[in-house]
């Protein structure tokens, strides 16, 4: 283990203890650890952006081969400089076009991705749940495949039915349709509750794994230090 690794280990050990001290409530050690983390992260990000983005991807190509790279480097430079007007309280309105460009491009990307990456594929997947040929190709048994498919489709429909929040002008809570939809919404609400429970379980597993990892790090560090002074078999 090199010196950097050793120093890193010690610093990591201390920071770990400082974060674990939150077990006793909010205290100075925990805040110190948080502040250190935020500072280091912000600094590292700044350096990385300056080096990786501004210098290597924008300025360096412009200095080395300006003409071929001009169409790639000049627009980002100009728009980036134009966006700096948002930092001034009096001239912030000048940066609105750039912000509008960014928001528009981001919205288009997100909407396109949601449609072609999530909505359409999910609908196709829900439809293909009852594809018997696909199930056979996958080697699924009919006895397990069909109930799974039906449950999957019903759960999807019932969960979507729970999200009906529009009432309309002719809403009548005592109507037959509303009386029929009431239990459907309750089932969908139950499925959502199960989903949230699963999500919570995943978060718990992730946290537990992180804790185990930290405990192991602390144990290993302490054990190494002890072994340095006390030879252990």
């Amino acid at each position: 283990m090199s010196l950097a690794d050793q120093i890193g280990a010690v610093v990591g050990f201390l920071l770990t203890l400082m974060v674990i001290s939150y077990l006793f409530g909010d205290n100075g050690l925990f805040r110190l650890a948080v502040h250190i983390f935020i500072g280091v992260a912000a600094g590292f990000t700044t350096v990385l952006v300056l080096d990786q983005v501004i210098w290597q991807q924008t300025l360096q190509p412009l200095f080395n081969k300006p003409l071929p790279n001009l169409y790639l480097t000049l627009p980002p430079l100009l728009l980036g400089g134009w966006l700096l007007f948002k930092g001034s309280s009096g001239l912030e309105r000048l940066g609105n076009p750039v912000v509008a460009f960014l928001v528009g491009v981001g919205a288009a990307t997100a909407i396109g991705g949601a449609l072609f990456g999530t909505l359409f594929p999910q609908v196709e997947t829900a439809i293909n749940l009852l594809d018997l040929q696909a199930a056979r190709q996958e080697g699924q048994l009919l006895l397990t495949w069909f109930p799974n498919a039906v449950i999957g489709i019903l759960a999807t429909v019932v969960t979507l039915a729970y999200f009906q929040f529009s009432l309309g002008k002719r809403y009548n809570p005592a109507s037959r349709f509303q009386l029929l939809m009431a239990p459907v919404r309750n089932i969908g609400q139950g499925i959502l509750a199960i989903t949230f429970g699963v999500l919570f379980a995943g978060v718990l597993l992730a946290a537990l794994a992180a804790m185990i990892g930290r405990i192991y790090f602390v144990w290993e560090t302490v054990w190494n230090w002890i072994s340095m002074f006390i030879p252990l078999q």
Binding site: V53, G113, G117, G202, A206, L208, G213
Partner: protein, 758 residues
């Protein structure tokens, strides 16, 4: 029942009433008619009036029914004749009307002596009655012996009655027809009245006739002994006569018309004096009469006749107004001039007026003592001229059809008021609305609460002291310590916790294994590291076996990250691979670290479309797209495998949405996620149409992949402790749920019991 309106107050009275029951004014005039009593036949009118005032009202002649005017001794003889049938005035001037003109004159003269002699009226009343009788006898005799004077007297009477006006030849037509009087008669009367034309007074004849007649008694003697009164003094005979003034006289006349009558009375007095046989020196009397009255008959005197006959019922204040309008301008001017002259009283009259005014209280006192006295009978035109203050506060005309008297409001006490809606409102008292708003107890309590909240808003309230140790802190410490002990024990003991059966791994994990196994040497594999350093321990259990497997297959790994710390993580992973036994000697160099990908989702899209243009250089600045990456310069689907490692489901979804469709189902897309992101990205794994072809999620997935591939991983170090800690956590969750359920049920039961008890 027919009603008669009182000329004084205007109130209705019974038809047979002689005197008004309200103001005791005379309702029926005293008219000398053939049906009069024998004793009154030869009595002049003015004398008769005086005597009738003493008598009760029932004795009054019934001929007064037609007259609605007050006929008292004070009224002019013209008024008396106005209510009588006109025939007797002309047909029998001498018989039925004994000395009308004289009686009229006497009636006009009466007010003067009455005012002075009012205190002694009651005392001398009896004594004067006999005097009146004697006086009346010789006056009647005068009338009988002078038939030639009858026409004159009649003419004069007619003239006085206003039937003619010598000075106004162009007399306008009057409202009521008036009997025409011959001009000669008018002239004779006018001459006599004016005094200047008193020439052919057959004094000798009537005086001689008077001498032959019976001598009057004491009253006549008194009259004979009367010396010409000096200006300003009443003659003696008038003073004697004033002693027997009936009670009809109540108020002295102080108005100007009174002065007119006084002046006329003075003239009449003079005429009377001249007619009195032997008792009065006519010439001396007439000599005393001031010559101020003009030679011509005053116009006002003529107007009096006109106006009196034209009147019927209530007398207007100034009846001359209507008639004046009919007159021409010249006539009007002359009339006004005559009126002015008539208003100019002689001195003796003015003095008399002053004395009369001074004696008014005495007169009133005497009247009070003598309730039997008849009220003074003022002529209508004179009464109309009385000031408003002297009249009783009662309307002249009252609409008796509406007897409603206003009882409320500013018009209280008045009759004939138009009833309005106010009367309806006055039927009930308007409701009194309370200004206070009724507030219930509940509202009052809420109001107090709100006030307390508002008032306490600005006040500093001490925070409750937090205890040093709470139940949650103790429980937290216990759980932590237990977990730590289990973990340390597991790490110390290293129990051989069984790993998942490779035969029973998840399909998505098996798919990843298959896809990595299909990689060839130097085949570029894009490895996206979008997780934070805090999740390195967990992600390492997932990424390391896959990474080790790919490295073992000889794939060229291309690291890229949308997180700033991603390149650092990539470097560490590369160094870990190099420390593996397979690369212990040579190290691991078959990778490219493209570094940080900026722009978020836009950067991902741009990298997916043109990776070489988006990130042309490595992390160290050297060109990246050379060698094995030269084939993947233009598109992402040239990669052999795309692996996305993310602890955040959002990051994973972005790569799936932006890069997945561009792979065209040619390049496998594998997700290596944390346990918390696994359920969220699980739907994307849907073979054969799903965008994600393989999924390894959490430490359990890593353990499965490790069990299936037996690649280098940290899973064996953490798996035992992880399994034991997970069991402890499950126990705690179950116990906690059970305890929560029991406590909530107990609390609910206590609440229900409390509600039942209340």
């Amino acid at each position: 029942m027919a009603e008669v309106r009182c000329p004084m107050c205007g109130k209705p009275n019974p038809e047979e009433a002689e005197v008004c029951i309200f103001c005791e004014a005379r309702l029926k005039p005293l008219i000398l008619s053939p049906a009069a009593s024998e004793g009154d036949q030869n009595m002049p009118d003015w004398l008769r009036n005086l005597r009738s005032a003493d008598q009760p009202e029932e004795d009054q002649p019934a001929d007064d029914e037609k007259s609605a005017e007050t006929l008292d001794w004070f009224s002019s003889p013209e008024e008396l004749r106005a209510v009588e049938p006109p025939a007797p005035a002309l047909d029998s001037p001498g018989g039925e009307e004994p000395v009308d003109w004289l009686a009229d004159l006497g009636s006009l003269e009466e007010p003067l002596p009455e005012a002075e002699q009012a205190p002694s009226m009651a005392a001398s009343e009896v004594e004067s009655s006999e005097d009146w009788d004697s006086l009346s006898d010789w006056l009647d005799s005068l009338k009988q012996e002078k038939p030639d004077t009858a026409p004159e007297t009649a003419a004069e009477d007619q003239l006085i009655a206003g039937e003619g006006d010598l000075e106004l030849p162009d007399e306008p037509p009057l409202a009521e027809p008036i009997e025409p009087v011959s001009g000669d008669e008018k002239q004779s009367l006018a001459d006599w009245l004016s005094g200047a034309t008193i020439e052919a007074i057959p004094s000798e004849e009537w005086l001689s006739s008077i001498e032959s007649a019976e001598q009057p008694d004491e009253a006549l003697e008194a009259v004979e002994g009367v010396e010409p009164a000096e200006p300003g003094e009443l003659p003696d005979w008038l003073t004697v006569l004033a002693g027997s003034i009936p009670e009809a006289i109540q108020e002295p006349i102080t108005t100007e018309p009174e002065a007119e009558e006084i002046s006329v009375a003075s003239q009449d007095q003079a005429a009377t004096d001249t007619e009195a046989p032997g008792a009065v020196d006519a010439e001396s009397i007439f000599a005393e009469i001031p010559a101020e009255p003009t030679q011509e008959l005053p116009d006002w005197l003529d107007q009096i006749d006109h106006t009196q006959e034209a009147m019927a019922g209530s007398v207007p204040a100034f009846a001359l107004d209507d008639e004046l309008a009919k007159l021409q301008a010249g006539e009007q001017a002359a009339l006004e001039e005559a009126t002015a002259e008539a208003l100019s009283l002689p001195e003796w009259i003015s003095e008399l007026t002053a004395e009369t005014a001074a004696e008014a209280p005495e007169v009133e006192a005497a009247l009070e003592d003598a309730p039997d006295l008849a009220q003074a009978k003022l002529p209508d035109w004179l009464e109309a001229m009385r000031p408003v203050e002297a009249v009783a506060p009662e309307p002249v005309f009252l609409d008796q059809s509406d007897d409603h008297m206003e009882s409320a409001g500013p018009l209280a006490g008045l009759r004939g008021v138009i009833p309005g809606e106010i009367g309806m409102l006055a039927q009930h008292k308007p409701p009194a609305y309370a200004l206070k708003i009724p507030i219930t107890d509940d509202q009052q309590a809420r109001l107090a609460t709100l006030q307390a909240l508002v008032s306490g808003e600005g006040q500093e309230q001490p925070l409750p002291a937090r205890p040093a140790r709470t139940n949650q802190l103790v429980l937290r410490l216990i759980v932590f310590m237990l977990l730590v002990l289990v973990s340390v024990a597991a790490l110390w003991i290293n129990p051989q916790t069984p790993l998942p059966n490779p035969e029973q791994i998840a399909p998505e994990v098996f798919a990843v294994q298959q896809q990595v196994q299909s990689l060839g040497p130097n085949q570029p594999v894009l490895l996206v590291l979008d997780y934070e350093p805090g999740y390195v321990d967990e992600m390492n259990t997932v990424v390391m076996p896959v990474l080790d497997h790919m490295a073992a297959r000889g794939a060229h790994l291309v690291f890229v990250s949308t997180s700033p710390t991603g390149p650092i993580i990539a470097t560490g992973l590369a160094e870990w691979i190099g420390r593996q036994p397979a690369f212990a000697n040579t190290g691991f160099e078959n990778y490219t670290n493209l570094g940080f990908l900026p722009g978020g989702v836009n950067g991902i899209r741009a990298f997916a479309l043109a990776p070489a243009q988006t990130l042309p250089r490595k992390l160290d600045g050297s060109p990246a797209w050379i060698g094995p990456l030269a084939k993947t310069v233009w598109s992402l689907d040239q990669f052999g495998l795309v692996v996305v490692a993310s602890d955040d489901p959002e990051g994973a979804r972005q790569w799936i949405e932006q890069a997945g469709p561009l792979l065209h189902n040619k390049t496998p897309f594998i997700l290596l996620t944390s346990a918390q992101a696994g359920p969220m990205v699980q739907p994307y794994y849907a073979p054969p149409t799903g965008l994600v072809t393989g999924l390894v999620s959490g430490m359990s997935g890593g353990a499965e992949y490790y069990s299936a591939t037996s690649r280098a991983s940290v899973v064996p170090l953490y798996w035992g402790a992880f399994s034991l800690a997970l069991n402890v956590v499950v126990v705690f969750i179950v116990l906690g749920g059970f305890v929560s359920l029991v406590s909530s049920s107990i609390t609910t039961r206590k609440t229900q019991k409390g509600e039942e008890n209340t």
